[in-house]
């Protein structure tokens, strides 16, 4: 194989890596990624709903979900092992409103379900959740076994 063909394959490999990287970016929209006007809506957005920020410190995992206008009665959070599942319903405009009376309908609605895998096991008895101003916040204390432990190094 001549050096010429080698470099062609190198170039193809580089392009493939680049494409993989782009796909990853697409799957995990981040800050800086052009956020769409309707990015936090169910149904119309072709991505997970609700959007979630997850943070972790030594004792807790905190999940924050962007979910305005959810019927609080319908919100349901369950945990099985390290799987957190959030379901609920965003209410649609009342059926009593005749379609010809609706000028704009950009806020999508409907039932949703999202499951996320948490990085560690959590203590399912001590989970706290609150829903305020359209933000769902769940605090999940880590299971004792999953907490980081300091190990003393004996220096002889």
């Amino acid at each position: 194989m001549s050096p010429m063909t080698m470099s062609v394959f190198d170039e193809l490999n580089r392009m493939r890596r680049e494409m993989d990287r782009l796909q990853v970016v697409e799957r995990s929209p981040r800050w800086g990624f052009p956020f769409s006007r309707v990015s936090f809506l169910p149904g119309r957005a072709a991505r997970s709903y609700p959007l979630m920020n997850i943070s972790e410190d030594a004792d807790n995992i905190r999940v924050e979900a962007l979910a305005p206008g959810i019927d609080p009665e319908s919100l349901d959070i369950s945990i099985a092992g390290d799987q957190l599942t959030v379901t609920g319903e965003k209410l649609a405009l009342s059926e009593a409103i005749a379609p010809e009376m609706i000028h704009r309908n950009e806020r999508a609605s409907g039932r949703f379900l999202r499951s996320v895998t948490l990085p560690t096991e959590v203590d399912s008895k001590k989970i706290e959740a609150s829903y305020k101003d359209g933000l769902l916040k769940v605090t999940l204390p880590k299971a004792e076994a999953a907490k980081p432990r300091k190990i003393k190094v004996n220096i002889s």
Partner: protein, 137 residues
């Protein structure tokens, strides 16, 4: 309700995009999100619903001036510093709608609940439909 604006001042955005000195510009003045809205008509007037997550009753600013409805929402949410999974940020919200002259600007009311803003725009009395009896002889 046809015309609308989604950023407060086009010049501000251009300035920040052109790479000019924006060190003095705060986040509040340069970056906005446009909330999705539902607008529908009732017998009494128009209802505007807007998704404003992270915005409380005190942080929402509704103005009506010269038949222009301005919705501004200030969000205080910022994510925890030790994020391991990062999907959203919230900016301040801004959106404007042109109102027809059939809205009674004095009686507009608004409230925020669960991150959804409801603006009630009552119709002016003289515009409300009136039944006119037809005398048949």
């Amino acid at each position: 309700m046809a015309a609308e604006k989604t950023t407060p001042d086009a010049n501000i955005e251009v300035a920040s995009n052109m790479g000019e000195d924006t060190t003095l510009a705060t986040r509040e003045e340069t970056q906005f999100m446009s909330p999705p809205v539902d607008i529908f008509e009732t017998d009494e007037g128009l209802m505007v619903l807007a998704d404003l997550p992270g915005v409380t009753n005190d942080d929402v600013d509704i103005q009506v001036e010269d038949y222009l409805l301005t919705i501004k929402g200030k969000t205080s949410y910022s994510p925890n510093p030790d994020l391991i999974h990062d999907e959203f940020r919230l900016l301040n919200f801004f959106r404007q709608f042109k109102l027809g002259n059939e809205v009674d600007q004095e009686r507009i009311s608004a409230r925020v609940k669960n991150g959804v803003l409801t603006v009630n725009l009552p119709k002016a009395e003289k515009i409300k439909p009136r039944r006119i009896a037809v005398n048949v002889e």
